[in-house]
């Protein structure tokens, strides 16, 4: 059955599927034209098929590099979620905790985590633990702010209703505040996921023996641009897939929330 037509205000309301491929096709066509017409040196910008062909040059070990990067991203992000959400909830749960932690979080947040990587290398050496902490720390700060703000967005009326029932604070958080705040965490969680990719790659530039970041830094030295671009493409694909997963999770668990799409679409 066809959906009845109504006024679409937002772009995210969706369009015909053909538009989904139009953007990527235009990109590929531009790439092919630029790389084959001689406008750009093909050593610097090889055509798409040469980039794909480098999968064979690298061999099965490419899978190992990809998995190493993905594992680091997911582990670091998970760490960031645990610490960030923990600190965020604690800050809203206890006013003294908020006062103490707010200063630390807000001083730490403007510092680019990338700047800490040399320090972490000194402390942890070239071990996995150092890379894990870089990603965890960087994402945790973003997630803390997300969780703190999301809890603040919960309507006062609902909190007051919970108070009237005489719910203790722990239950008020578990059963009312956290479920009500959950949909508001979406944006911050997605941004933190993207950030964890950035941090893993930068961390891999410095002394990892496996991973796409390591592959990229080697390819740069040996001027193997197809490999370099292939790694970038894989990163894009991984980022897209993980973000899709996260969005699906939120679409499923937060579908109770009335969004503009429900009312205007």
């Amino acid at each position: 059955m066809r959906r009845s037509r109504s006024t679409c205000v937002l772009g995210s309301a969706g369009a015909a599927p053909i538009f989904r491929f139009a953007g990527i096709m235009a990109f590929l066509v531009t790439w092919v034209v630029l790389s084959t017409s001689g406008i750009v040196n093909s050593l610097l910008l090889p055509p798409p098929w040469r980039v794909l062909g480098s999968v064979q040059d690298i061999g099965p070990v490419l899978l190992l590099h990809t998995l190493a990067t993905l594992t680091r991203v997911l582990a670091g992000y998970a760490g960031g979620l645990v610490f960030g959400a923990g600190i965020g909830v604690l800050m809203q749960y206890n006013r003294h905790a908020f006062a103490v932690l707010d200063g630390i979080v807000e001083t730490g947040r403007p510092i680019p985590t990338v700047a800490l990587i040399p320090f972490f290398t000194l402390v942890f050496g070239f071990s996995e633990l150092g890379r894990f902490w870089v990603v965890t720390l960087g994402t945790a700060l973003l997630i803390t702010v997300t969780v703190v703000e999301a809890i603040e967005r919960v309507p006062t009326a609902i909190i007051r209703w919970g108070l009237v029932l005489g719910l203790p604070r722990t239950q008020l958080f578990q059963r009312i505040l956290l479920p009500a705040a959950w949909p508001h965490m979406r944006t911050g969680f997605r941004l933190a996921l993207a950030l964890s990719f950035t941090l893993v790659i930068v961390a891999e530039f410095m002394g990892a023996t496996y991973g796409l970041g390591h592959l990229i830094s080697v390819a740069k030295v040996t001027l193997t641009t197809p490999t370099l671009l292939l790694c970038i493409a894989i990163l894009g694909l991984l980022g897209w897939m993980t973000d899709r997963g996260l969005r699906a999770l939120f679409n499923h668990t937060a579908r109770w929330e009335t969004t503009v799409r429900d009312t205007v679409l």
């Binding site: 309507p155 009326a157 009237v164 029932l165 005489g166 479920p179 009500a180 109770w256 929330e257 009335t258």
Partner: protein, 244 residues
């Protein structure tokens, strides 16, 4: 089962909002609280619920002085307080926590039927109209508390016909279960039709109760569409007190 306010005063910061409010609501009666917007109706209700503490005077429910919330669980606020992630039935069962056995679920379904939402237990709040949500909020308040009810302009945002349907629902429910409570409204007709007495808050600041009008027996239990000279007379008297 009575609600007693003894010389209650309340201030937001240094500005005194309510003073010298003394009321004695007898058991099984619901009294309306009327007054202009902003005089402190909601504040008074929140104090009875235990969310705010009076700065002087005392409030007691069932002979016990109110010091914290939790003693009156049957509340319906003006704003929507349904939990959006729970279905209609789960909203009714929220207070039970994990003790939701078959008996509790049957009770919830019976309440849903009573408020005209029979068979709609699976709906999420966002799938319901404003009128349906109010019905559900009433069912939840009545299920959570079988002795007291506090309502804060529950029908303020509804259209006239829906409001009348809900008045009828409420009158029918009161017949089956007697409750003690306070009903805030700015609609004089609603106050007269649904309550046993009407407390009028003055428009001055600080505000206090200037008059309590008792609703004549002849107006109680009649259909909500029934018009009479008596109703008009009480309504005119109420309005003249409100205008003071």
């Amino acid at each position: 089962m009575s609600i007693i306010l003894d010389r209650v005063a309340f201030a937001y910061g240094s500005s005194l909002v309510l003073k010298d409010v003394s009321v004695d609501i007898p058991s099984s009666q619901i009294w309306a609280l009327v007054g202009r917007s902003g005089v402190g109706k909601t504040t008074l209700l929140q104090m009875v619920a235990g969310v705010f503490a009076p700065c002087s005077g005392s409030i007691s429910v069932d002979g016990v002085v109110v010091v914290r919330p939790g003693h009156i669980k049957g509340v319906v606020f003006q704003d929507d307080t349904l939990l959006g992630w729970l279905s209609a039935e789960q909203n009714l069962l929220f207070l039970n926590g994990h003790k939701n056995d078959a008996a509790a679920r049957a009770r919830a379904r019976a309440w849903l039927t009573d408020v005209g939402l029979g068979g709609r237990g699976e709906l999420l709040p966002k799938e319901m109209s404003a009128g349906m949500k109010k019905r559900l909020e009433f069912a939840r308040a009545l299920m959570n508390d079988d002795r007291y009810v506090l309502a804060d302009e529950p029908f303020g945002t509804l259209d006239a016909l829906t409001r009348r349907d809900l008045w009828r629902m409420w009158v029918q429910m009161r017949r089956s279960a007697k409750r003690t409570g306070i009903w805030c409204t700015h609609d004089p007709e609603e106050a007269i039709r649904l309550c046993d007495a009407v407390m009028i808050l003055s428009s001055s600041r600080p505000s206090t109760i200037i008059k309590t009008l008792y609703v004549p027996e002849s107006l109680k239990g009649v259909d909500v569409t029934h018009e009479s000279a008596e109703l008009l007379r009480v309504r005119a008297e109420l309005l003249s007190w409100l205008a003071q």
